[in-house]
Symmetry: C2
Subunit: 197 residues, 2 copies
């Protein structure tokens, strides 16, 4: 009775509710409450919208917003991997690809293909949209950790070099935001909330 597309879309909409249960390591601003992937994705979407003018290149902002809204959906099956985890590679694992096919595959074929392509483009990080989206994904936890007296850096003993290296991805998306981020990192060392070595 109802359009087949609509029923498929509704089943996808129900499935992705699970993103709200996936806890990240980082905490909310000035808080000891862990952030979940849905909250994180919402925040990145708004960050992308308000910070777009600082992108190194003019971006298709709708595509950036799509990227950040869906980038963690694969974690429903594959789980959240901590960025400073030394045992497990963060992205582009077989597990994540299988998850993308299953979850986006709930949608009508054309939409599923589009979402998988957008997710893969984000993961590859090579286009201007992916670079700017990844800059947002790196900036949010930096702001959170500086608001939380070091947050996950302190909790997991991460040092300046590792943070500086991981965060330098921001530069690919926005040199202006990277200058700001680099100063936050330097100040964090000065304040003693990020260890130098």
């Amino acid at each position: 009775m109802f359009p087949e597309n609509l029923l498929k879309q509704i089943s996808f909409i129900k499935e992705i509710d699970k993103v709200k249960y996936i806890q990240r390591k980082t905490k909310l601003f000035n808080s000891d409450r862990n952030e979940n992937d849905a909250e994180h994705s919402w925040h990145l979407a708004l960050m992308a919208l308000v910070l777009a003018e600082h992108s190194n290149e003019s971006v298709d902002i709708l595509k950036v917003v799509k990227m950040v809204l869906i980038h963690d959906i694969v974690e429903i099956d594959a789980g959240d991997t901590f960025i400073y985890d030394t045992q497990k590679n963060h992205s582009n694992t077989d597990e994540e690809r299988i998850a993308a096919n299953r979850i986006f595959g709930l949608l009508p074929k054309e939409q599923a293909d589009e979402f998988i392509t957008v997710w893969e483009e984000f993961e590859a990080g090579e286009t201007k949209e992916a670079k700017f989206a990844k800059a947002m994904d790196r900036l949010e936890p930096l702001l959170q950790n500086t608001s939380n007296e070091g947050g996950t850096w302190k909790e997991f003993g991460v040092n300046y070099e590792k943070v500086h290296h991981k965060k330098s991805v921001i530069k690919e998306g926005s040199t202006a935001i990277w200058e700001f981020a680099e100063q936050l990192i330097d100040e964090s060392v000065e304040k003693g909330i990020l260890k130098k070595d």
Copy 2:
């Protein structure tokens, strides 16, 4: 040293973290855990993206996504009002307008004006984008309540007539989705999870 716009945008980004603490009355799917406004807004953005083809009129989907991402930000100051609350009008209160001016006013002037305009357009519900955005906002809790054996309908003793009336706003955005929604409402009465009178 840093662009003035960037510093204003960062202060807005920090402020809106508070949206993650605003609890809604509705619960997550098949759950007794309340949803918060950030999770809700993320879900609506994805619903809008995947359901756009069912809109009565072709919409500027980026504008719809902006609307749903920001529509509850005013609740940082004004609080969440339950849709079936008979004491308090849900929208367009002076309190909400003051909140919009304060919170969006953290952004650079041009962006603040744009966000306030988009938020007002959503609240007025007259353009095709606002109608479709509002359809998403009505559909999500309907799906949630049917997954939760009646959810807030049972909890607050809301009957068929009130639900049907409030949800009929969906029709303005999408007759196809409204047909689906209406069947869900009818089935809910049949199942005894929504009282007829």
